[in-house]
Subunit: 605 residues, 2 copies
C-alpha cells in the first residue's frame, strides 16, 4: 500500500515542544519565530525530516504556517484545513487563523510591540515571501532576522528523522521524449538571449524534468530533492546527496552534470557572486537564502524558473505515454467501479476498503509506481469535505441512498493520472441527481470548449460554473490544475481557476473537475484530465481554435444524470465519451466486467 489510514498522532507532545522552542527563541534574541510547512524546495509534499510544522503543532495538512510569540502562537491555514486542524492541534497553544483574511503579518503586528524582531529560517521562505512580509511589517518597525540555524530542528534534536535518501533513477528517453542534453542546451540558449550567466534551480520537479531523472524522496511525487546551477555555457552542477546516486544514475548524468554534495552549494553560489555573474533566480520559488548567497535581492536577475513552461508543454512521447497510462488506469478504475456495484448490494464496504480495493486494481496493472496522492474516499457527508482523507478513526460505511466520492490517481512511468468519480450507492434523491447534472454541465462545458490562442485558465473557469451559478450554487476550488508527466500531480504554470493567468498552450495537461458540496450531506465532483490540443480550423469558421481532449477513460454514473436537463449537444458529448470509454476499455475486461461497462456506457435514455 502506498497510503496508510492511521489517524494523525495527537497534539499531546506539542506543549513541551513549543516550550523548548520558546527557550531557544530567548537565546536567539527574537520575539517571534516563523515556522512554515515548506521545506527548502517549496514542494507540496515534504519528507518527515522537514515536517517541522507537524512536529511543532500536530497539524498534518499540506499547507500552512505557524508563528510563535513569547506567550501566544498562531497557526495560519486556508479554508480547506481550519476544521481538520481543530481536531489535530492543542488550541490552547495555537490560535487557528484563516488566510488570506488573517495573514501572519497582521497577527505579528497585532501581538508584537513596535521594534520587535521576528526570526525566520532563510532557507524555508521564498525571497518574494520575505519581501512582502518586510513591507507589511515596516509600518510597525518590526524587523525580520534570518537565523543561522533552525530552532525547531534544534528543539527536535536526535529524534528528528534522517533526511530521505531515495535512489535516483534515469527517466528513460522513451518516456521523456527529449534528452537532458537538449533540454539543457535549450535552457542555455534562453539564458544567452536574456543576457544571464546562469540560473539556480530549486524546484525538485524542474530538476527531475531537465535532467530526466526520477527519485523517491517524498511521498507520491517521484522527484529528487536536489538543487542545480545551470551556467550559460558548460556543464550543469547538480547538488544531490551522494548516497542517492545509483551507478545507473551516475552514468546517465555524467555527460550533462557535475555531481556535487549539497554542502558545496553555498561555496558555488559565493563563487558566482564574487565573479560578478548575473544569475537568474525565481523570487516566487527560490528561498531568500539563495538571494543572500548571491549578494542580495538587488544583485540577482529575477525571472520565472525556466523549466516550468517547457515542462508543462508535453512533447509527443509524453503525450503518447499519458494516453497509455490513462488507458491502463481507466481499466483499473472501471474494474473497481464494476466491483463496487456488485458489493454495495451487501452494504459492507467502507471508505478504507474502497480505497484499498482501488489501489489493488491499480497494482494489478503491474505498472503502478506510486499513487499520485492520498486517495480521497468520502461517503455521504465526508464527500463534502473537499480534501477529506479517511483514517481508521473517521472510516464510514458506504450507505444506501448516499453518494460516494472517490478522487485518486496513479503514478506510472509513462504518466500521472488523477480521476474523480461520484457514484450513487442505492437510490439517489432527486436533488442529488439535479446537482450532479449541473456539475456535469460544467464538466461538459470545459470538455467541448473551443478557445483561441492566448486564452488563460481564468477565462475558462466560469464556463464550468455558469450552470451552477444560474441555480444559486458554486464550488470553492478551482476547476482544474496542471498535471505532470510521471511527476507532480499539481504542476504549473497553467490552471483553470480564478488565479489561472498563464495562457493555455498545446500539450498542457489540466484537470477538469467542477464539483458541488452540501455540507453534512454529500459531495459531487466529476474529474477527467484533459490535454490542450493545437489550434485547428473549424469548418465554416475563420480562426483556428484550441480545445481539450479527454485523457481519462472511465464511465460517469448515468444513474445520477437528469437527461432532460442536458441540451442536445451536452447529451451528444456524454454519449460520445461513453462510447469511447466502452470501445477502449471494454476489450481489456473480462466478460462480467464488460457487460457491466456496456450498461454503464449505454446512450442516455
Amino acid at each position: 500500500m502506498f497510503q496508510t489510514f492511521e489517524p494523525p498522532t495527537g497534539a499531546a507532545e506539542t506543549g513541551p515542544r513549543v516550550a523548548r522552542v520558546r527557550a531557544l527563541m530567548v537565546k536567539a534574541k527574537i520575539d517571534a519565530l516563523l515556522v512554515p510547512r515548506a521545506d527548502e524546495h517549496q514542494g507540496e509534499y515534504v519528507p518527515g525530516s522537514a515536517d517541522r510544522l507537524k512536529w511543532l503543532t500536530g497539524f498534518s495538512g499540506s499547507a500552512g504556517s505557524a508563528a510563535v510569540g513569547p506567550s501566544t502562537a498562531a497557526l495560519f491555514l486556508d479554508g480547506r484545513y481550519t476544521l481538520q486542524a481543530r481536531s489535530q492541534i492543542d488550541t490552547s497553544l495555537f490560535e487557528i487563523l484563516q488566510v488570506p483574511q488573517n495573514r501572519p503579518a497582521d497577527w505579528l503586528k497585532l501581538t508584537l510591540p513596535e521594534g520587535a524582531t521576528v526570526g525566520f529560517d532563510p532557507k524555508l521562505h521564498t525571497l518574494a515571501e520575505i519581501e512582502r512580509l518586510e513591507d507589511a511589517l515596516a509600518p510597525k518597525k518590526i524587523r525580520l532576522k534570518a537565523l543561522s540555524r533552525n530552532l525547531v530542528d534544534s528543539a527536535w534534536g536526535r529524534k528528528r528523522p534522517a533526511p530521505p535518501a531515495g535512489p535516483v533513477k534515469p527517466h528513460p528517453l522513451e518516456y521523456a521524449g527529449v534528452p537532458a542534453e537538449d533540454k539543457i542546451a535549450a535552457l542555455q540558449k534562453l539564458l544567452a538571449e536574456a543576457g544571464e550567466d546562469a540560473v539556480a534551480l530549486t524546484l525538485p520537479d524542474s530538476i527531475a524534468w531537465i535532467f530526466n531523472i526520477r527519485g523517491a524522496d517524498v511521498a507520491h511525487n517521484p522527484v529528487v530533492l536536489a538543487f542545480a546551477i545551470v551556467p550559460r555555457e558548460g556543464k550543469a552542477e547538480l547538488f544531490v546527496r551522494p548516497e542517492k546516486i545509483t551507478e545507473e544514475a551516475r552514468s546517465h548524468l555524467a555527460p550533462v552534470a557535475t555531481l556535487l554534495s549539497p554542502d558545496e552549494l553555498a561555496k558555488r553560489l559565493a563563487a558566482l557572486k564574487s565573479d560578478g555573474k548575473r544569475v537568474r533566480l525565481d523570487p516566487e520559488t527560490a528561498s531568500w537564502w539563495f538571494a543572500q548567497q548571491l549578494g542580495g535581492a538587488k544583485r540577482i536577475r529575477r525571472g520565472q524558473d525556466p523549466c516550468i513552461l517547457p515542462k508543462a508543454r508535453k512533447n509527443d512521447a509524453e503525450i503518447k505515454g499519458t494516453r497509455a497510462a490513462h488507458l491502463r488506469d481507466g481499466v483499473a478504475v472501471t474494474r473497481f467501479l464494476a466491483w463496487l456495484d456488485r458489493q454495495t448490494a451487501a452494504g459492507t464496504i467502507d471508505e478504507i476498503a474502497a480505497a484499498e480495493k482501488l489501489e489493488f486494481f491499480r497494482a494489478e496493472t503491474q505498472a503502478l509506481k506510486e499513487i499520485s496522492f492520498d486517495t480521497i474516499s468520502g461517503s455521504g457527508p465526508h464527500g463534502a469535505i473537499v480534501h477529506y482523507r479517511v483514517t481508521k478513526a473517521t472510516n464510514r460505511t458506504l450507505g444506501a441512498g448516499e453518494l460516494f466520492l472517490l478522487d485518486s490517481g496513479g503514478q506510472y512511468v509513462d504518466g500521472t493520472t488523477d480521476i474523480t468519480r461520484t457514484v450513487a450507492i442505492g437510490t439517489p434523491t432527486r436533488e442529488m441527481c439535479e446537482r450532479f447534472t449541473l456539475v456535469l454541465k460544467g464538466h461538459i462545458a470545459i470538455a467541448v470548449a473551443h478557445f483561441p490562442v492566448g486564452t488563460r485558465g481564468v477565462e475558462l473557469d466560469p464556463l464550468a460554473r455558469a450552470a451552477l451559478w444560474q441555480r444559486g450554487l458554486d464550488f470553492d476550488h478551482g476547476t482544474g490544475h496542471g498535471v505532470g508527466s510521471y511527476l507532480s500531480v499539481h504542476e504549473g504554470p497553467q490552471s483553470i481557476s480564478k488565479r489561472g493567468m498563464a495562457p493555455l498552450e498545446p500539450g498542457m495537461i489540466c484537470s477538469n473537475e467542477p464539483g458541488y458540496y452540501k455540507e453534512g450531506a454529500y459531495g459531487i465532483r466529476i474529474e477527467n484530465l484533459v490535454l490542450v490540443t493545437p489550434p485547428q480550423p473549424i469548418p465554416g469558421g475563420e480562426r483556428e481554435m484550441m480545445a481539450f481532449e479527454a485523457l481519462t477513460l472511465a464511465p460517469i454514473d448515468r444513474r445520477l444524470i437528469v437527461t432532460e436537463m442536458l441540451s442536445a449537444d451536452e447529451r451528444a458529448w456524454m454519449d460520445r465519451y461513453h462510447a469511447r470509454v466502452s470501445a477502449l476499455i471494454g476489450p481489456e475486461l473480462g466478460p462480467e466486467e464488460r457487460a457491466w461497462l456496456e450498461a454503464a456506457t449505454a446512450p442516455l435514455a
Copy 2:
C-alpha cells in the same frame, strides 16, 4: 450638432512642424522627444490646445504617441488605429508602429546610440509610464530628461488654441445623490485609515464626481479640467482657471473647496513636501511632474485614485437617473429605427444622414446635453471597422442586402447612454443572420448571467464569446466597459474583458457589446448598458448571486435572428426583453411608430 463630419485635415503642414520641433530639440540638447496624445489629465478626450499629437503628425485618433528622433520619427498606435493613421499622416515623416508588439522603448533602443537622451514633458506622462520607460531604456544607458517647457507648444506658437474655458456648473443633488461634503468626508476618513495626510486628484471625472460639478472643457465629456488636493482634515483645494467659475458654481463650491488658480498648484505641492506630508498619488493616472513636486517617486504614497471605486458604484439617485435617461434615449433610438425602416425602402439614406437624424431624435427629447461620443455609423464594410467615424470623404449609402451598424450615446443630466444596434437593410444573407445570432447568444449569456460576489469582468467576458469560439469566430475588443453617470462613457475600474480584474459590484454600469466583424463585408455589434444588481437569493439555491439589469431599451432586429439557433432560455430572454421595451417605450410613441414597435418586438416565431 454635437459632431462634425469634416474629413481630418491633411498632413501637408506636418513636415515644417516636425522640422521646427527638431530645431528646438537640438537647443534642448536631447536626441529624441516623446509626444503623447495625453494631456495633463490623461483623459480620453483632450481639448484642441492639448492635441499636440494631431498638430505634429496629423493623426486624429483617441490614443497613441509619437517619438521624434534626429532624422527619423515613429507613431505608436494600437490595432484600431493603424489603418486610419495611414490615410492621415505623412508616412515619409512618421513610421507607423503597432503597440504592444512595438513599444516606444523598443524603437528608441533600436534607433538611438548608447547614452542618448530622450526628452519628455513631465506633465504629460504618468509616473508609472516613465518608470517603466526608464527600466526599459536602462540596459542601453538611454536617459530620460524632463523638459521645463513643451517643445511642441513652443513650435506651435501663437497659432495654438487657447485652453478651454467651459463654465463650471453644479451637478444637482437630485442627480448626484450624495452631497459633495459627504463624499469628501468619506474620502477623508479613508485617508485617515490609510495614515495619509492628503491625496492629489488629477482625473477630471474624479474631480467632477467628488465636487458634484460638471463642465464643458472637452467634447462629449462634461468634465472640468482641474486639479484638486484633498487633505485629511479641512477644506479641499480646487485648482481651476477662475474664468470658468460661474457665480452659481462659486456658491456651490464655497463650503467644500478653496478655489485656487492652477498656477498655484506647484507652490501648494511644494508646501506639502516641505511639511513632510504623506500624499497619496495614483502612479497610473497622475503625471510624473506631481511626484517630482512632492519630492520624488520615493516620497509619495502610491495608491489608486480614491474616487474611482465610489464613483463606479452608482447610488440610488444615480440609478434612478440612468433609468430615466435610458427610457428617454430608448424612445429616441426607437423612433430613429422606425424612421430608418420607412426610409430605406427608398435607398437614399447615407451614414451621415443617419447619424444626423439620430441626433435630431435625441435633441427632440429637449434633454440632450451632448452626445457621449462621435457616432459610429457604419454601413456594409464600414461596420467592420470597430472605431469607424464617418466623414464626408468616407460617407456611404445604406445599400440593400447590407448590414448597418450604429453605435451612439447621449449625455443627459441624469445619465449617460451608449447603445449599438445592427440593422438589416433589405434582405440579409443567411451567413449574416447566423453570425448575428451567435453574437446575440453571447449578448444573452451576459444578460442572464448570475454570478457570485467577487466575480471580476475577466471571468464573464468568455461567456460572451463561447458561442462564437465554438464556430471558429471571435471579436477583438472587450465585451464591456464601465460607464459614468452624466460623466465619461468609458469609466473604470470595472470592465468585462481580458483586462477586467476589478470585482463587479452592485450599482456598477457596464456595456454588454459582443460583436463580429467580417473585414471588407460587414460588422455586427449588439450593445445594451447593464446595471449590476445586488446579491439576491435564487429559489432552490444556497448562495446569493448578482446579475445584470438591462438599462438600454430599444428593439434588437428580429429579422437577423435565426430562431432555431437559440435555446429555449435564450428565446425566452429575447421575448421578455422585447416585451419590456414595448411596454415602456410604446406609450411614448405616436400611433405609426407604436405599430412599428409592436411588430419589431413581437415574440420570435
